[in-house]
């Protein structure tokens, strides 16, 4: 006979404020097999866990039910508690009476209490059928894959490599550096972005533990924590390893049709190019969609001028498949495309530019060598209007979130403008200024007080084109005035959005993403860099918009997580896997066909004395415990440990029975 202990948690007032926890505990005590039932303020706290351990010893319990929060939150905690008291950790079940009861049924305490009692009773029914399971271990491939070579990826790679583990850093573009390389200065210190980034890029390139793979993309992922098998496409660079980065090819290339992605399409670039002079690795690639040779079959100038014979037009895309123990996803962001804003000209007005374009305009390495001129006619500017919250805080444009950095970068850009051209006037239209961060508020104040940037509180309604000027029609809600400004240039503070293709990329890993496409962390507070896929971590703006210091901190956090994983000898894995009762197996191969992991083997086996049958067998080290075989087996020969038919049936039976609470 089972000896079950039921422990009902108040979670402060989180649960107890809605659910009558004493009644739940009292009801538990009346259930068959339950030897003790108690409620306590915080079950997960040290004294709470000790209550459980003491009860186990005192009543000789062999199974536990903890009625508390979601098992996704604390199942592991209570399994460890059980283990400490000498009970098999898989003899623990949780009844989720916080997320599934107290927090969602706060409108009727009686019904909530009844449901809590029911869920607890279901957990008791399930745990009654639990079996002791022993832990399983899997090997770890101690090599990390970092996807994305922006500041997040670089930082994560450097930190993991620093701990002595090998890292492969994959970047889609021809050079690492990412968005940060495009910036001119950084807030709130106004130090030069390139000056602080390039040393890191070089360090990554020179680290013996880091392998750089630029112009490459991850195309396929299988496996699981400790054993990811990843297929990577190395796009044909058309330039081989003989290249010494002298740059002659780029200088001589006659093609000028393509627009520079790095310069945000403000300037042309050659068909053979490195994105920017400080590129790492300093090896150009040929853009085959722009190259005269690839388009017409004639030219080959780069081949002629190359001193080392590094040009190879025959190169093909190459696929490699490698194994990794952990993955850091740092795929970054795109800025919001304002062609959805009809009122700001559908992205067709040349002198309405994005914040990132302004960075390139004012950067001394940019297309105008730091001279801020109008893209349409290259005239100097006098009045510049900055509009915040474009593609942020805008439900109508399906971007209701705050992009977090635009207030700051707008202040920075307005200051830089005044710095370069003291005679210009900068106007900033804002809704609210969000400057939470060390020295951030002071920075915005400086822009207004020292630099004389005029801040106007209101969203701009429309930009009219009129005779070489842009008429900006806005409002200042603080004074209640309508504002019209004749501007030379309008800079939009475009918000952040997930990288194009982020959803498809998430599906490679089966990571979940939010409705916009930002990747979901495992827990918003307690597991901000983990994902639901164990062994896959997220860093930087692919998770949500954030500034450089936060990105770097997050990247280092992922590195710490990876190193903690690699520091273990072997990986403990859940023994919640499928098993076949070969006596009842009819050998129809249905399970074999549906298994997503090929974890089922068909064998001719002597199942009874003298009876050899064609039957299924589960490969324990391969099975991930999804249960697809269980759902498909009509002979009822496969079962899933931890979610057995008996357990589920008893839960169903309990769920549908009335409460017998007097």
């Amino acid at each position: 006979m089972a000896r079950i202990g039921v422990f009902v948690c108040h979670c402060g007032t989180n649960i107890a404020g809605v659910v009558d926890v004493t009644r739940v505990a009292k009801y538990a005590g009346s259930l068959p097999g339950v030897k003790v039932a108690v409620d306590y303020k915080f079950m997960c706290s040290d004294p709470g866990q000790n209550t459980i351990i003491d009860a186990i010893k005192k009543y000789g319990l062999d199974r536990l039910v903890v009625s508390a929060c979601s098992p996704r939150m604390h199942e592991a905690t209570f399994r460890r508690t059980a283990e400490r008291a000498g009970i098999n950790p898989y003899m623990v079940e949780m009844a989720n009476i916080r997320e599934h009861v107290a927090w969602v049924h706060s409108d009727d305490k009686e019904l909530a209490t009844q449901k809590a009692m029911k869920l607890m009773e279901m957990a008791v029914a399930k745990v009654r059928r639990s079996e002791a399971l022993s832990k399983m271990f899997a090997p770890i491939e101690k090599r990390a894959l970092v996807i994305g070579g922006g500041i997040a990826g670089i930082q994560a790679a450097l930190d993991i490599a620093g701990a002595g583990y090998k890292v492969l850093l994959v970047e889609k573009e021809p050079s690492i550096g990412g968005r940060m390389a495009q910036l001119d200065k950084t807030f709130p210190t106004l130090d030069c972005s390139a000056c602080i980034l390039t040393p890191k890029m070089v360090a990554a390139a020179q680290d013996p533990n880091i392998t750089l793979l630029t112009y490459a993309e991850v195309t396929e992922v299988c496996g699981f924590v400790g054993q990811f098998e990843v297929k990577i496409k190395k796009k044909a660079k058309s330039v081989n390893s003989k290249c010494i980065g002298c740059g002659v090819c780029t200088t001589k290339c006659p093609s000028k049709k393509a627009l520079s992605e790095f310069d945000e399409k403000l300037a042309p670039r050659k068909a053979i190019y490195t994105p920017f002079p400080q590129a790492v690795p300093n090896v150009p690639v040929i853009d085959r969609t722009a190259c005269t040779f690839f388009l017409t079959g004639k030219c080959k100038i780069c081949e002629k001028v190359c001193p080392t014979g590094a040009i190879d037009y025959t190169q093909q895309d190459e696929f490699i498949k490698e194994k990794f123990g952990a993955v850091v996803v740092a795929t970054g962001f795109d800025i919001y495309d304002h062609s959805n804003y009809g009122e700001y000209g559908y992205g067709e007005i040349k002198d309405v530019i994005t914040g990132l374009q302004f960075e390139r305009l004012i950067s001394s390495t940019g297309p105008t060598a730091g001279h801020v001129t109008r893209p349409s006619d290259h005239r100097e500017v006098k009045n510049v209007v900055f509009i915040q919250c474009v593609g942020s805080r805008d439900e109508a444009k399906k971007r209701p979130y705050c992009s977090r950095v635009c207030c700051m970068y707008t202040a920075k850009q307005a200051m830089l403008l005044k710095d370069h051209y003291p005679e210009t006037q900068a106007y900033v239209f804002y809704i609210d200024i969000r400057s939470a961060g060390k020295n951030y508020e002071e920075f915005v104040q400086r822009a207004q007080n020292e630099y004389g940037v005029l801040y106007l509180r209101g969203r701009v309604s429309k930009i009219y084109e009129r005779a070489n000027k842009l008429l900006v029609k806005g409002a200042d809600t603080l004074s209640g005035a309508q504002v019209e400004i004749e501007a030379d240039l309008v800079v939009l503070a475009n918000g952040f959005e997930p990288k194009k293709g982020a959803k498809e990329f998430a599906q490679l890993f089966h990571m979940s993403s939010d409705q916009y496409g930002f990747y979901n962390e495992l827990h918003p507070k307690l597991a901000p860099v983990e994902t639901a896929i164990s062994g896959v971590f997220v860093a930087g703006c692919c998770q949500s918009p954030k500034d450089i210091p936060d990105t770097v901190a997050m990247a280092s956090a992922t590195a710490a997580k990876v190193c903690a994983l690699f520091a273990k000898e072997k990986l403990e894995v859940e023994p919640l896997i499928a098993g076949v009762n070969q006596l009842t197996c009819s050998g129809c191969e249905t399970c074999y066909n549906v298994c997503p992991y090929s974890a089922i083997e068909m064998k001719d086996k002597e199942v009874k004395r003298g009876e050899v049958r064609h039957v299924a067998e589960v490969l324990e080290s391969v099975c991930k415990g999804c249960g697809a075989c269980v759902g498909a087996c009509y002979s009822k020969a496969v079962d899933l440990k931890g979610f057995t038919d008996r357990q589920v049936l008893d839960q169903v039976e309990t769920a549908t029975a009335p409460i017998t609470d007097n």
């Binding site: 109508a396 444009k397 701009v460």
Partner: protein, 198 residues
Amino acid sequence: MKYELQLKNIKEGFRKDVENLSQQKISNCYQCGKCSAGCPVAYAMDYPPSMIMRMIQLGMHDPVMSSNTSWYCVSCETCTTRCPREIDIAKVMDTLKIMAQAGKYKLSENEIPIFDWIFLKSIELTGKIYELGMIGAYNLLSLNPFKDVYPMGLKMILKGKIGFIPHLIYNPFEVIKNIRMFNAIRKKDRERIYEKNV
């Protein structure tokens, strides 16, 4: 400061009344001011639209209802089209006018309500608009009998743009049907505004 906001002065029901009748979530407004920025008639209004939204949020019934803002709204829907919080501001303005004309709140404007009354009466009795009669009646009732008579009105008549005979629905049954319909609508409107939403 012009107004002193005291909690006991905030009419709780006002925001709810406007929200129920307009079916718009006014509490959604975060005061970005885009409506005021784009409004073509804001210059003539006592308060710009965004401020009206704020005052409704705070239940400031008297200044909202006594202001000319809603009456100056031309229903051009610029605000609605551009509102980042997807509030149909023009509809809220309509609602304020409906509430005022239904007599639930004090009327601050009379030109437009007079026009509206004449206009709808014209539809009720003829099914269509009878411009000359309508303009004449309006000018009389708004105590400005010679408004627009010269030169525009005269020229209109000369160009044959305004007829002297109303276009009638010739079928008398249709006329009766029309009048009945209007009576039914008025009854339902009273229920909507007075009974359900108080």
